[in-house]
């Protein structure tokens, strides 16, 4: 994510910088100014941002099953070297 997001002054600038990690702040300001004039564009880009947020939300709550680690270490012939205080 673009570190310049903090420099954004308006929601549109934040949106532009948030969607690209290498977009120049000044270019984003120009894009933001255009978006201000175009409600459809605003809705569109906002929906792209929400799409990404939704995926981040659902994709972040998946975990390994407990026995997967055991199987992994067994396949790697490392099960005897696991630290005892790990669990």
């Amino acid at each position: 994510m673009n570190n310049d997001v903090k420099k954004a002054n308006t929601p549109f600038e934040k949106l532009c910088l948030g969607l690209s990690d290498d977009m120049d702040v000044e270019i984003c300001k120009e894009i933001a100014a255009e978006l201000e004039k175009c409600p459809d564009c605003h809705f569109f880009y906002n929906s792209v941002e929400k799409t990404i947020e939704m995926y981040r939300e659902v994709e972040n709550d998946k975990n390994m099953d407990e026995d997967m680690e055991l199987r992994l270490l067994r396949i790697l012939n490392l099960e005897d070297f696991k630290p005892c205080d790990d669990k």
């Binding site: 994510m1 990690d21 290498d22 175009c38 409600p39 459809d40 564009c41 809705f43 569109f44 906002n46 929906s47 792209v48 929400k50 799409t51 990404i52 947020e53 939704m54 995926y55 981040r56 939300e57 659902v58 994709e59 998946k62 975990n63 390994m64 099953d65 997967m68 680690e69 199987r71 992994l72 270490l73 396949i75 790697l76 490392l78 005897d80 070297f81 696991k82 630290p83 790990d86």
Partner: protein, 195 residues
Amino acid sequence: MKNELEIIEKAKNGDRKAQVELVLKYEKKVFNLALRMMRDKEDAEDVMQETFLTALRKLHTFEGRSQFFTWLYRITMNISLQKLRDRNKENAMVSLSDPDIESIHGQHLSEWPAFSGRMMSNNDFRKLLDKAIKELPAIYRSVFILRDLEGLSTIETQKLLDLSESNVKVRLMRARFYLRQTLQKHFQENQFNEQ
């Protein structure tokens, strides 16, 4: 906390405890990346196991010029992409073209609902999100996952996937727009009832 390069050096020299340390440190990250690519727990476990088998076998080739996790991610992505190709899972996938930006005008777009916990815990909605990302051809899915879900930069993604910068950007844009379009259809059909 021990320096990671020190641990890697020990692991290279056959120190089994150091090897375990690396595996335990990165197993969850590798599994999550594999799961995002493969969309199936068993397949993701296979990829994770192959990734670490390969990584430990090739550890002597890691020179520390990139971060260790980037090197590991590259192996994970290569194995995932190869498995997806082998299993011919691309067959049912959509073909993506450049989005028609001009057509945004006149679509009578409206603000999407803010996503709520209720909507995100709705099983049907989660299945829809999963189905849409599964339909994405692997070349687009990989870029979307690395850039938008794993938070890698364009440069990191292009290095990891051996793509040009413009290729990363185009694929990312197409993937985002395809996923967005799927959700747009859903919200239109359900008139934002998920809120």
